[in-house]
């Protein structure tokens, strides 16, 4: 057997071994279980709807919100600026390619608490640290932000700031979701434009 033949057999064997290898590393959890558990039990992985409302109102570009619901649910109503990645699609795709987007915070939400927390566990299991969950999901968003009202006689400065944030987030949500679908994307872009103009920035 000459060198060329040996090399060919070796390559063939290597190919077989590679074919028998488990799926790529990104498809399996890479952190150790105990570390993942500690990570997931950290209360900082939860964000309240008020915190998300604040990011929305301030149009914080370091934050990306992910809507894990179905496209139909997303189209019916969604948090402005959010990206729709149904949970089932997130499982099919490589989450690293979606979530390594240079944002400081990737926030998951669904209608409730299950899908968003599964997604968080998967992301953190793959060692993607900039991931968080909006606690209570869209149900809590409606309950706290969309149904917010003030009925008392006195309001503290802190309560007033919170109420104002909720009101502005509610207005943005209503304005955005009342638009025809074709205009929704343009709406959010124009909001960014308006903010820059107010700040005196250049376009």
């Amino acid at each position: 057997m000459n060198t060329r033949e040996k090399f060919s057999v070796g390559l063939l064997c290597l190919g077989l071994i590679l074919a028998l290898l488990p799926l790529s590393g990104s498809r399996s959890f890479t952190v150790k279980p105990q570390k993942l558990l500690t990570d997931l039990l950290d209360g900082n992985t939860y964000l309240t709807v008020d915190q998300v409302a604040k990011y929305l109102v301030s149009e914080d570009s370091s934050v990306q919100i992910f809507d894990l619901r179905t496209p139909e649910e997303f189209q019916a109503a969604n948090i402005p600026g959010s990206i729709n990645i149904p949970y089932s699609k997130l499982l099919d795709a490589d989450p690293s390619s979606i979530l390594n987007n240079g944002k400081d915070r990737n926030i998951f939400y669904s209608n409730g608490d299950f899908d968003s927390n599964y997604a968080l566990s998967i992301a953190r299991g793959l060692n993607i640290k900039n991931t968080f969950v909006m606690k209570g999901g869209l149900n809590e968003w409606f309950n706290t932000v969309m149904n917010s009202s003030f009925t008392g006689e006195k309001i503290s400065a802190r309560e007033n700031a919170l109420f104002e944030t909720r009101t502005r987030a509610k207005r943005m949500f209503s304005e955005m979701n009342s638009l025809p679908d074709s205009l929704k994307i343009k709406f959010f872009q124009s909001k960014h434009l308006a903010a820059k103009k107010l700040d005196g920035g250049c376009e």
Partner: protein, 152 residues
């Protein structure tokens, strides 16, 4: 012997690669390969069950209360273990869960916590693992948004 002598270089390369593959596969990480496969029941929501559904499962249930305060659980028959979430991976607990032959039901007043623990245990290869909940419609939107047609 003739064969081994003839192909010793090739065999040596293959053996080295095989050893590397085995080391990588059996590494310190205790999670199973193919995260998608182990997460699949969560996509179908077949891992979430109510008390009524749990009663119909075959085998004796192992109910794990993840909350620190041993809150009284629903009327459900089975073996009850109070295991706070932060100690779920301790040697004894993980051994109990992995070797249990019947259905393992995770319960917490915080559905998000149950979901997180379910994902960890599932990825470690725990089968017949369920989330026991009072609200199986947690992922159902209870509110309907009505577009404001007068806004623009």
């Amino acid at each position: 012997m003739e064969f081994i002598k003839k192909y010793k270089v090739v065999i040596a390369i293959v053996l080295i690669v095989l050893v590397l593959v085995v080391i990588r596969s059996m590494g310190a990480n205790h999670f199973r390969n193919d995260a998608k496969k182990w997460a699949e029941p969560s996509g179908k929501q077949s891992n979430i069950i109510s008390i009524e559904q749990a009663a119909k499962l075959s085998g004796r249930n192992l109910i794990i209360n993840l909350d620190k305060d041993a809150s009284p659980l629903m009327n459900i028959t089975g073996e009850l273990e109070n295991i706070p979430a932060d100690s779920i991976l301790s040697k004894n607990h993980i051994k109990l869960i992995m070797k249990y032959e019947g259905p393992v039901l995770l319960f917490s007043s915080d559905p998000g916590l149950s979901a997180r623990i379910w994902m960890i245990l599932s990825q470690m290869g725990c089968k017949r693992l369920y989330i026991l909940t009072r609200q199986t419609d947690n992922e159902f939107l209870k509110y309907k948004f009505r577009p404001d047609t007068l806004m623009h």
